[in-house]
């Protein structure tokens, strides 16, 4: 099976249910492991995903500096160099968010609301797998005190400008 075909099958929800042959299942799982292990993730694989890979029962806070903002659809990302505990060696963290259009509606964001170099405190729901990333919950610019949130449900009213 080609890599492309493997990717297609991995994206097919019937993959795990129609493959009743145990050997085929094992073979495919091996291919999945290989696929991840070698890091050959085609750039077409992205976006439009559920967010349950983040643990919404936990909130982690880091203090640091924004390194880069990727204001892109369908998910905005912010890279922050920071530490969980004061005095710890800072490391780079990746914060995922919803789309630019949704962020503008939910929390007063704009493309330039948060910029590289801004000192920030970030609250986020961490990745369940322990990676240095999470779903941003709230970001506070320490110098200006400005606060931006990223709750996608915070836009569920008509005429939002009247309530924000």
């Amino acid at each position: 099976m080609t890599l492309a075909a493997t990717v297609f099958r991995l994206n097919n929800p019937f993959f795990l249910n129609h493959e009743m042959n145990p050997m085929k299942t094992i073979t495919n799982l091996f291919k999945l492991a290989l696929f991840i292990a070698i890091g050959v993730v085609p750039f077409a694989v992205n976006a439009h995903h559920s967010t349950t890979m983040f643990d919404r029962t936990q909130v982690v806070t880091i203090t640091g500096v924004v390194k880069e903002v990727q204001w892109t659809n369908p998910h905005v990302a912010i890279f922050v160099s920071g530490a969980v505990k004061e005095g710890d060696e800072p490391s780079l963290w990746l914060m995922e968010m919803t789309s630019p259009g949704n962020l503008i509606r939910v929390g007063g964001w704009s493309r330039t609301a948060v910029k590289a170099g801004d000192k920030v405190v970030v609250e986020f729901f961490p990745l369940r797998n322990g990676g240095k990333g999470g779903a941003l919950k709230k970001i506070t610019e320490t110098q200006t005190g400005k606060v931006y949130t990223a709750d996608i449900f915070a836009q569920e009213n008509a005429n939002l400008e009247q309530s924000k």
């Binding site: 994206n11 993730v41 992205n46 439009h48 349950t52 659809n73 990746l94 789309s99 240095k132 990333g133």
Partner: protein, 280 residues
Amino acid sequence: MSSKHIIQFVLRFCAYSLVSYGILASSAHAQEKPIINRAPVAKDYADLGKLPDWSGTWNPNISDQFNQVNTNMPPWKPEQAKVIQFQLAEEKAGRPAPLFTNCLPESMPSWALITHNSIEFLFTPGRVTILGESDSNRLRRIYTDGRAMPDDPDPTFHGYSVGHWEGNTLVVETTGIRPQTYLAVSEAVGVPNNGDVRVIERFHLAGKDIMHDDIEIIAPNVLTKPWKTTREYFRQRARKYEIIEGVCLEGSFSESKDQAGNDIFVPIKYDVGGNRIPPQ
């Protein structure tokens, strides 16, 4: 048989043949004749003013989408129900199925069911167009010029839609949807529709700034019976909430410079769940 009868028979045969040929020829001619969409006139544009005001940006009630996964699940066939239960468990465990991570359109009717982004309505003579925010290739053309649904429309991601107005309600029928596209109730829960899908929608205002899309989905290859649901949208008029371009594949690239100093896109890596890979 006398010679007189033979002559009568031959003449009748010739007459019938000519008539038959004429019918066939005119029929063929009619089939080949292209249907021309007439040019709109001033009255057509004036009549648009009699339609309800659906201007503005409409963002979906996402909470209700999520709630209906628990309260109004489609009547899946047993084979599909197994997949759905598996996907629900996987999603709950933090391993959501990557149904839409390839950036292909969510398609109809999933676009109407699960989108987290805004839509807008455009009225032009003989047509309503729905444009979506989440991908620049997301649009629906709904023909309201009185045409019939084609017998066998070419399958597409958003199908072929014919609509008509019943008072202030836009009634839309959609068929011709690609069988490979998902009938999904969330971004991680859905199955290929397997063809023969028909969608009936009734768009109407449920309040001054609330839109309801009452949807009936007939999907005989994956559902045991037609399924009904309603999706809700909120109107925004503030200019800052207007729909902005949203190209799905944009997120697969980051901005960079080449050696000559040109601004370029460079692909970035994602994990299988669709997230950028965090720094190691």
